[in-house]
């Protein structure tokens, strides 16, 4: 099983982030209040924010090691990143977006991009620009684009937040099935009780830049360590420490 491990400290503005996360193919759901540092954690792992100390590795491959002087460029880390708004390139068509991360002759790239879009059920919008796509279509195109270069792990920032209520359930089911089929480590940020449950993966709770609790969903539900976790997962108040 491939394992992605990050043990890092990041300081940006008023944010003081210090986390140790470990994730395998079962995935990890990252939850926490706004400003806790969830997005910054993902950006640091892909290499868009530089940690002040720590180490990031996937399997035996070290991506970042402050002490060892290793800081692999984002493009050499092989990690996929899906921002909250999907960040599709507005000047490219859906197929152009997916082909962006592919190498090789043009015809080959286009063909591979098309087959990926087909597989994710959005082949019919291949020639449209992102502006003309629905939320669910955008998410699928973004997912196809993220999967195109065969990333070693996926980092998803609230992939369900931009969706309207009607499409949310079906898109969520689709996303989860796709992530499971990938057999790659993934970290997904969620802020909704339903979403957290649906991913059925270990959960880490981030508050004020620290992981305050981690574990299986059931144990967090049974023994929430903070009032945030209790509110998020429903009902029960935190155990007195």
């Amino acid at each position: 099983m491939t394992r992605l491990a990050a043990n890092i400290a990041v300081r940006i503005g008023t944010l003081d982030l210090e986390i140790a996360l470990e994730v395998d193919e079962r995935g990890l759901v990252l939850v926490g209040p706004n400003g806790a540092g969830k997005t910054t954690a993902l950006l640091a792992i892909v290499g868009a924010r530089r940690p002040t100390r720590g180490r990031i590795a996937i399997a035996d491959d070290v991506l970042f090691d402050r002490a060892g002087g290793i800081d692999r460029a984002t493009e050499d880390r092989g990690l996929a990143y899906l921002p909250q708004d999907y960040a599709l390139f507005p000047h490219l068509t859906a197929i152009g977006n997916v082909a962006f991360g592919l190498r090789g002759p043009r015809a080959e790239r286009t063909e591979r991009a098309r087959s990926l879009l087909d597989r994710l059920g959005v082949g019919s919008v291949a020639d449209r620009h992102p502006g003309g796509l629905s939320g669910g279509e955008r998410q699928r195109v973004a997912l196809a684009r993220a999967l195109a270069p065969s990333p070693r792990a996926l980092l998803l920032d609230e992939p369900l937040a931009a969706l309207d209520v009607e499409s949310r359930d079906s898109v969520r089911a689709f996303l989860i099935a796709e992530l499971r089929a990938q057999h790659r480590p993934f970290i997904v940020i969620a802020h909704d009780r339903e979403d957290v449950r649906a991913f059925a993966a270990p959960v880490a709770v981030l508050e004020h830049g620290r992981v305050v609790q981690r574990g299986e969903l059931a144990s967090l539900e049974a023994h929430p360590a903070t009032s945030f976790t209790a509110r998020l997962l429903g009902g029960r108040s935190p155990d007195p420490d």
Partner: protein
């Protein structure tokens, strides 16, 4: 009733004030066209100073625009993406040529690059004499036009969503590829607008050029300087040259007119 009367009066006053200013802005341009006739302009165009000035203006503004885009784009990229305090300071410094009077800019350039200027002697040692040359014309244009391009380009780059750049990198693109395939296409409209404004400013450059480059036919006498020179001897020639400048300016405004964005999000 009284309320709506008062509102009507305010509205009438508003129209009168705004309309007067508009008329004031348009009238001189109209005068430029209606006080002469095409036959006069053709005669004016045959004045021996016309063609050299036109050619010199086109050549020097093309050069200064090229210099500005080549050197200004990387600077604007940094200004648009950096959150460092020094970047905000540089942004302010870059605006200096807008508020400095052109004649002062010309004097300043002379004191910097002139034969007795700050680095003039150094340049002279390696055989470069800038003042009162075509190079001086280009430098004066770059100096006064730079803020227009850099400001617009900075705003354009700052408007590119950082997530797009991060995602592009995660898809395996090197920074240069990200610049050419994502940032530049998305900033394109702002870059073109800035370049057009800067070009218009360079084309109209008068004061700094006169001070720093002089008014030498064929070498430093650009269109605006030719208008000034022609006015002393042949008003028709001056007017013909002025019409050329205005037509170019109108062309730029038409190119830059506000349009709806092509990329919807």
């Amino acid at each position: 009733m009284r309320h709506s009367l008062r509102r009507g009066a305010w509205r009438a006053a508003g129209y009168a004030l705004g309309g007067s200013l508009l008329a004031f802005l348009v009238l001189p341009v109209v005068a430029l066209f209606v006080t002469g006739n095409p036959a006069d302009w053709l005669t004016g165009l045959r004045n021996p100073i016309t063609v050299p000035a036109l050619v010199l203006s086109l050549v020097t503004t093309a050069l200064s625009l090229g210099v500005l885009v080549a050197f200004g784009t990387p600077l604007a990229w940094w200004l648009g993406r950096s959150e460092a305090r020094v970047a905000r300071l540089v942004e302010t410094v870059v605006q200096l040529p807008i508020v400095v009077p052109p004649a002062v800019a010309g004097l300043a350039l002379l004191l910097a690059f002139g034969r007795r200027g700050l680095i003039g002697p150094l340049l002279e040692d390696v055989g470069i004499d800038i003042a009162f040359s075509t190079t001086a014309v280009v430098l004066a244009q770059v100096f006064v036009a730079a803020p227009f391009y850099i400001q617009a380009a900075t705003a354009a780059f700052a408007g590119v969503d950082e997530n797009l750049l991060v995602v592009a990198r995660t898809l395996g693109a090197r920074p240069a590829t990200v610049l050419f395939r994502v940032a530049l296409p998305l900033a394109r409209r702002g870059l073109i607008a800035g370049a057009a404004l800067a070009w218009a400013r360079a084309l109209g450059e008068f004061g700094a050029t006169l001070m720093f480059a002089g008014n030498l036919s064929g070498r430093t006498q650009t269109l605006p300087l030719a208008v000034y020179t022609a006015l002393e001897s042949d008003v028709r020639a001056a007017q013909a040259l002025a019409v050329i400048l205005v037509v170019i300016a109108l062309g730029i405004i038409i190119v830059l007119r506000p349009r709806r964005g092509r990329h919807r999000r």
